[in-house]
C-alpha cells in the first residue's frame, strides 16, 4: 500500500517534469490522455471486472460535464466542488440506471445503454437550461498568479487533469484489489457459483455500475474543462464507441492498460490527420478517416485479441514456462 502511494507520487513528479519540457500542443494532449485514462478505467471496472457491457459511457460523461458546468455557473461553486458535483450526480444517475441494469444481461444491457448514448445528446438539445446545441461554458479560471507569467492555461489544465487522473486511478486500483474487485470477478466468471457462496450479485452489480458512472462523470467534467465547454456535440455516440475501442485495445481487464488505450485514442486523430493530408486532404477524408481507423482497430482486436494484447503475451509467457 505504501509502495503504491510512493509509485503514484513518483508518477506525478514525472508528469510535472514532462509538462515543463514539451510544447503547448503536447501539454493539451497530455490533459486529453489523462481524461481518457479516467474514462477507460470506468469501462475496465464495469466490463472487465463485473462483466456488464455499457455502450453509454459517453452519456455518463455528459451527465458529469453538465452537472459540473451547472454547479459552477448557476450555483457559483468553487471549481473543486464542480468536480465533486460531477462525481456525485453521475454516481446517483448510475445507481438509478444500475438498478435497472442489474436485472439485464448481455444484449439487453448493451441496447439500453446504446439508447442512452444516442438519446442523451438529443435531450440536452431540447431543454433551455442545458444551453441547447451551443452548450454552456465551463471555465475553471486562469492558473494562480504565483506560478508566474510562463505558466500557460493549457499547462494548468494538464496539472488539474493529471492530478485528478492519478487520484482516480489510485482509488480505482485499490477498489479492484479489494474484496469488491474479487467479488466482481467471481460474479463475472460464474454468477450462480458466486451467489451460492453468499454474494449478493444484484447489489454488487449496481455498485459496479455506480462507481463506473462516477468515474465516467469525472472524466466528462475533465473533458469539459479542457475544451472550456459542455455541448451535446462533445458527447456523441462516436465518443462512446471510441471509449469501448480504447478499453478493448487496452485489454478490458487491465487497469494499467488504460494509459496505453488513452494514448492510442489521442494518437489516432493525429495519425489520421497526417494520413489524410498525404492522401490529398479532401474534406470527407479528414472527417471520416479517424472513425475508420477506430472501427478497423476495434474489429481486428475484438476478433484476434479480445482480451487485450497484454493477455495474449501473458498467456504465451505462461506456456513457455
Amino acid at each position: 500500500m505504501r509502495k503504491k502511494i510512493a509509485l503514484f507520487i513518483f508518477l506525478g513528479w514525472v508528469l510535472l517534469l514532462i509538462g515543463d519540457r514539451v510544447d503547448e500542443l503536447r501539454v493539451y494532449q497530455g490533459a486529453q490522455i489523462a481524461m481518457y485514462a479516467i474514462a477507460l478505467s470506468s469501462i475496465v471496472l464495469l466490463t472487465g471486472y463485473s462483466g456488464q457491457v455499457s455502450l453509454g459511457n459517453g452519456a455518463m460523461m455528459a451527465v458529469g460535464g453538465y452537472s459540473a458546468a451547472l454547479s459552477l455557473n448557476n450555483l457559483g461553486s468553487p471549481v473543486w466542488f464542480a468536480f465533486v458535483m460531477a462525481v456525485v450526480v453521475s454516481a446517483l444517475f448510475g445507481a438509478l440506471l444500475g438498478t435497472a441494469a442489474a436485472r439485464l444481461s448481455g444484449p439487453y444491457l448493451a441496447g439500453t445503454t446504446l439508447a442512452l448514448a444516442v438519446g442523451l445528446p438529443e435531450i440536452a438539445n431540447q431543454f433551455a437550461f442545458l444551453g441547447g446545441v451551443p452548450g454552456i461554458l465551463f471555465d475553471v479560471g486562469f492558473p494562480p498568479a504565483r506560478f508566474g507569467e510562463e505558466f500557460t492555461q493549457y499547462k494548468w489544465f494538464f496539472w488539474i487533469a493529471s492530478f485528478i487522473a492519478l487520484f482516480a486511478l489510485f482509488i480505482t486500483s485499490n477498489i479492484l484489489q479489494s474484496r469488491y474487485g474479487r467479488t466482481w470477478r467471481a460474479i463475472r466468471s460464474n454468477s450462480l457459483a458466486a451467489e451460492l457462496s453468499g454474494v449478493h450479485s444484484g447489489r454488487m452489480k449496481i455498485l459496479a455500475f455506480t462507481i463506473s458512472s462516477a468515474l465516467a462523470g469525472l472524466a466528462g467534467a475533465v473533458m469539459a474543462m479542457t475544451i472550456s465547454l459542455v455541448a451535446p456535440g462533445a458527447y456523441t455516440l462516436s465518443l462512446s464507441f471510441a471509449l469501448v475501442t480504447g478499453a478493448v485495445l487496452a485489454g478490458v481487464s487491465s487497469l494499467p492498460g488504460v494509459v496505453f488505450g488513452a494514448l492510442i485514442l489521442v494518437a489516432i486523430p493525429e495519425v489520421a490527420d497526417v494520413l489524410a493530408n498525404r492522401l490529398g486532404g479532401d474534406e470527407n477524408l479528414n472527417n471520416y478517416l479517424p472513425g475508420l481507423i477506430v472501427s478497423v482497430l476495434l474489429i481486428l482486436s475484438v476478433i484476434f485479441t479480445p482480451n487485450g494484447p497484454g493477455e495474449k503475451l501473458r498467456r504465451r509467457h505462461h506456456k513457455k514456462m
Partner: protein, 298 residues
Amino acid sequence: MQKLLETFLIGLSTGSIYALMSLALVLVWRSTRVVNFAQAGQAMLSTYIGFEIASRTEIFWLGLACAIAAGALLGAGVDYFFMRVLFKHAVSGPAAVVAPVIATLGLLGLIRSIVGLIWGGEFKSIKAPASTDGFTIGERTIPFSPLNLLIIVTVFLILIILAVIFQRTNLGLSLRASAYAPEIAQLAGIRTARTRTIGWAIAGGVGGVAGMLVTSSNFLSPYSLDLLLVFGFIAAVIGGLESMVGSVLGALILGIGLTIILNYIGTSLVFIGGFVVLIVVLLVKPDGIMARGRARRA
C-alpha cells in the same frame, strides 16, 4: 376525437417503419443470438445505394428494389465474412460475452466511415414516391398524407410476404427450425450455417426497406438511422426479442405511443418517452408482451 384519429394514423405509419427495423433485429437475434447493432449501418449503406439509383433514374421503386438487393447481399456478406470468422475465434476470458456485441458496433462504425468517405456528411433527400401533403377531407386538410398511406401498405405487403415465406415454405420451416434448435435441425439434414446466412440476408433486405421508407419523408446522412435503430430495438424488446409477431406489434404500439406524445406534449419528450417505455418493459415484463410464462433466454 378527430385529432386522436389523425395521431393514430400517423403513428401507424411511423410504427410500421419501426416494425421493419425491429423485425430485422429479431431475425438475426433468433438465429445468431447477437443483437446486430450494425443493422443501422447496413440499412444506411443500402439506402445510400437506393438513393443513388432513385435520384439517377427518378424511379423510387427501382431504388427501393436495389436497396433491398444491396441490403440482402450486405447482410449475407456480414454473416459469411464477419460473424463466422468471429465465432471461429470462439473466445474465452473476460471479453467472451461482450465480443459479438462490440464487433457489431465496430462494424457499424466501419460502415458509417465508409459511407462518409464516399458520400460525405451533407444531408441527402430522396424524392418521395407519393405526395407528402395531407389528404383533404371536406374542408380540412389532415396531416396524414398519401405517402403515409403508401408506407403502411408497403410495410404490410412485406410483412405478408415474410409471413408466407416463414409459414408456408420449406425455407421458412428450416429457418424456424435452425433458430429454435440448431443441433436438432442439423441432425434433420438442414444446413444450418447456410440457413443462418439466408436469415441474415432477409434481415438485411428488410432493413434496407426501412431505411428507404424513413428517408422518403426525412433526410439521409451517415447518422440519420441511429434513432431508427434505437426505436427498432425498443420495439423488439417490447415483443420479447424472440417473437416476430411480437416485434411488429411492439413497433406499432411504440409508433402510436410516441406520436401521441409528439402531438399532445411536445418533441422534447419523445425520446425520453421511448426510453421510459424500454426501462418499464424490461423491469415489468422482460419477456415481452408475447411471452407465455417462459423464462427469458439470454
